[in-house]
Amino acid sequence: MLASIIASGLAVGAVYALIGVTYNTMFSASRVMSFTAGQLGMLGGVFGSLFVLRLGLPLVVGLVLMLVCCAIVGLITEFIAVRPVLKSLDQHLYVLSTLALALMIQQVVAVEWSTEPQAFPRVFGTGAGGILDEKFWLPVLTCAVTICALELLYRRTLTGLSFLAIAEDNFAARALGLPERNLRMASYALAGMIGGLAGFSGGQLLLAFVANGPLLNFYGFVPVALGGLGNNRGAIVGGFALGLFQQAANFLVGGIFSSVAVFMLFIAVLLAAPRGLFGGHLARRV
């Protein structure tokens, strides 16, 4: 019992953490929180199922195609919903524009794919049914690999450093001659792939299901809110904590009340620490 709570908690936690990283990657490049983050997670599952099960492509090809498609969705987000409203960030129009795009994505999937959950292919086919089932360890492994790759990118490569420069101070970075727009587009493509990976690796758990979009939007945002905007480490810690808490509540008090419990926890933590548990300081208003 305890083992299965921990296994499933870590698994969904990894998916939430990856969606949190997706939010953060978009936020760092543009100061925009996008409602498409959760939809990307949903699309990862749907594309995986579409390419591998429905079209019968080899798994690796399906994975690559999924990554490409999600990267394109990320770019579309940047182009349609983010770039036009960057000039007036203080009006928070991005909340509406990204929400509109997220709804459009969701509706297209609902009509063209299915409104029912669809099966997702097995990737390795090991340990079926037990605690060592791939549905438990694959998201965790993917999360770990993604984080290591991101750390390498951000710390060891010049491109990664320019990402950080833009996240730190957009104007200064532009003054230094960094191609801000291209880097932003690259960030959104990267965010698309991370979101896609979240859905793909969690495919056995969450299935290829259109309703995962809003679900991941919310559960993926909780770790970001807990960890502080743009803080990937905070999102990882928050994601796993959320996953464990949710699964524990699930086993102890049942599904519905576990979502109520998560919601209450979310609101309570945010009211107590609006900048997140690892959040930064307040900006000066006057």
Partner: protein, 602 residues
């Protein structure tokens, strides 16, 4: 029919207090409701049903308009309160948890439940920023549906339960329609009353200029909570009516698509308007009827509409219909204040003896912005505060007006200590201010902006304003005429009805001064009022400020125009690096050696 004339009468009454241009406001609304009253006589039951749905949606959207359109809070999950109201009414009428309750009693209880949950849903808005709030309302919407699904013994789970059956004469299609239309008319009238009250102006101030809102004494938390109570109750009652219309409800009936419809109606309509969102609601309710083959894509259409509105026409329908503000304004306007009118504006008893700062210290991230400042501002005197950039002038204003609490030291007004960091209380204690960058509501008229300054002097309660009772009408009359006097005094009376964001920068500075005067302050703090003004305007500003001080009002003036300072000030304090470098009369300061080397230049 009686109902239509009732709602029309409501809007007429609203008109009589709105004064000039009010036919422009209420005419179209009356027309829409008159047309709506004709629906049962010229069409069949199907269209009556659609019209009923539109009316019910408007009961919710009309109230939600105050949250989204006026207060600017992106509440995207209001279907939650519709669900709550629908289930509460249906469960109570069916008698699942108690003896069966009559329909109207159940609706009232649903309203109370909605008010309570409205506050719970709204609570995060007090602390959280936009996206956080949007997500938390979204989460709430998801959870309500899950609870409805899981709590089978009461809600019937996935199978659902029958909606309440209406008693005669509301059991027919037409009868129920007129009931809903009356509710819709009532909501229109009430929200229009709020829109034209200090509460409505407070909401748009919180939305567009929250710092100025605090400085004028608008209590954001209390105001938002009041609005959430009202909106929650309206949404839940709409839910009860919705359940009656559906005749049978399941959790499937309350999809997120409905939420989308609600808040997109407001946004398509345009912020701060009532006619716009009303049209938006009607259009979005009718859209799927005319595009029947696209029914599966209705949410997609809404989303596209939302995107188009955000990217192309952020003002929505209201901006398209705002013909008055297309008129070209005369270029090169000069401002001629009438200092003689200041007497009418500030004539009150001023017993406050002075603002006193003692040893005030404040640092930002280790940098001491003010480092032990003593400062005395006397009533009826103009006190100049000068110094190089970064010397702490504006920070001192912010400490006095309560935006920052000092780390050490005290601030007192007339011998009584001012609560540190309590910006919302300053206006009622007699301290008003302007800002270095004017903080205004661009989408509101100049007159409305100035009226915001008189918020603390309003007498009527929210409920009195809601029903347009005498005290509310009295408030509006007084504030309006005083705001006109204030505008005449600063020389902007001809621009009273213009949108504030069309004004020149210099005009905005005078508008802020007029707004500050509306609170009848004992002290006015001015942050670089002469910046961006022409030489003539600076001279007139100087005379105007002198007139203010002659009324007994103390003026604390932060300024870089040394001529203005030495010309009008009774006393000058020079700051450097957060410390007082020198204090004295203008004549003493002008020849002070250190001041010359640090600031004035030789």
């Amino acid at each position: 029919m009686a109902i239509s004339s009732e709602s029309a009468a409501g809007t007429m009454q609203e008109k009589s207090l709105a004064g000039t241009g009010s036919w422009m406001f209420s005419g179209p609304l009356i027309m829409i409701f008159c047309l709506a009253a004709l629906v049962p006589f010229v069409t069949n039951d199907y269209w009556v049903l659609i019209a009923t749905r539109a009316a019910i949606y408007w009961v919710l959207v009309g109230a939600l308009n105050l949250v989204i359109g006026f207060a600017g809070q992106l509440a995207i999950g209001y279907v939650a309160l519709l669900t709550l109201g629908a289930y509460t009414t249906s469960v109570l009428v069916a008698g699942n948890v108690s003896p069966p309750v009559p329909v109207f009693g159940a609706l009232a209880i649903a309203g109370v439940a909605g008010a309570i949950f409205g506050v719970i849903v709204g609570l995060p808005a007090l602390r959280l920023r936009t996206f956080y709030f949007a997500i938390s309302t979204l989460g709430f919407a998801t959870i309500i549906t899950q609870i409805a699904l899981a709590w089978q013994s009461v809600t019937g789970g996935g199978i659902g339960l029958p909606g309440p059956e209406m008693p005669a004469p509301f059991h027919t299609h037409a009868g129920f329609y007129f009931l809903c239309l009356t509710a819709a008319g009532l909501i229109t009238w009430m929200t229009a009353n709020i829109a034209h009250s200090r509460f409505g102006r407070g909401l748009i101030a919180v939305r567009d200029a929250d710092v100025a809102a605090e400085a004028t004494g608008i209590r954001k938390a209390r105001l938002l909570m009041t609005i959430f109570v009202f909106t929650g109750a309206s949404a839940a009652i709409a839910g009860g009516l919705f359940a009656a219309l559906q005749t049978y409800i399941t959790p499937d009936a309350f999809t997120f698509d409905l939420s989308v419809l609600f808040f997109i109606s407001v946004l398509i309509g345009g912020r701060g308007s009532i006619l716009g969102p009303l049209l938006g609601t009607v259009i979005l309710t009718l859209l799927p009827e005319f595009a029947a083959p696209l029914a599966a894509w209705s949410t997609f259409l809404y989303a596209v509409l939302l995107l188009v509105i955000v990217l192309v026409a952020p003002g929505g329908i209201a901006a398209l219909l705002d013909f008055g503000n297309r008129r070209v304004l005369r270029a090169n306007r000069t401002i001629v204040p009438k200092a003689a009118l200041v007497g009418h504006l500030l004539a009150t008893d001023k017993a406050k003896s002075g603002i006193a700062l003692r040893g005030v210290v404040l640092s930002f991230l280790g940098v001491r912005a003010i480092d032990g400042v003593d400062l005395d501002v006397e009533a009826g005197k103009i006190h100049g505060l000068i110094g190089p950039n970064g010397s702490g002038k504006t920070t001192i204003l912010n400490v006095i007006s309560g935006f920052y609490g000092p780390e050490a030291g005290s601030i007192a007004l007339g011998g009584e200590a001012l609560k540190p960091g309590d910006s919302e209380s300053r206006a009622s204690q007699g301290i008003a201010r302007t800002f270095q960058t004017p903080r205004i509501v661009g989408e509101a008229s100049v007159l409305q902006n100035v009226m915001i300054g008189g918020t603390i002097r309003g007498q009527s309660t929210f409920v009195e304003s809601l029903f347009c009772l005498p005290r509310h009408r009295g408030d509006e009359r007084t504030l309006r005429s005083e705001a006109m006097t204030a505008l005449s005094a600063v020389g902007l009376e001809s621009l009273a009805d213009i949108r504030a964001d069309r004004l020149q920068h210099s005009e905005l500075r005078f508008m802020e001064i007029a707004r500050a005067c509306m609170a009848r302050p004992a002290f006015i703090l001015l942050d670089e009022p002469a910046a961006g003004l022409s030489a003539d305007e600076i001279l007139r500003l100087g005379q105007f400020l002198k007139a203010i001080s002659r009324q007994g009002t103390g003026v604390l003036l932060v300024e870089h125009h040394a001529d203005l300072i030495f010309d009008i000030c009774d006393y000058v304090t020079v700051l450097n690096l957060g410390r007082v470098l020198a204090q004295g009369t203008p004549a003493e300061i002008r020849v002070h050696k250190e001041v010359i080397s640090a600031y004035l230049g030789g």
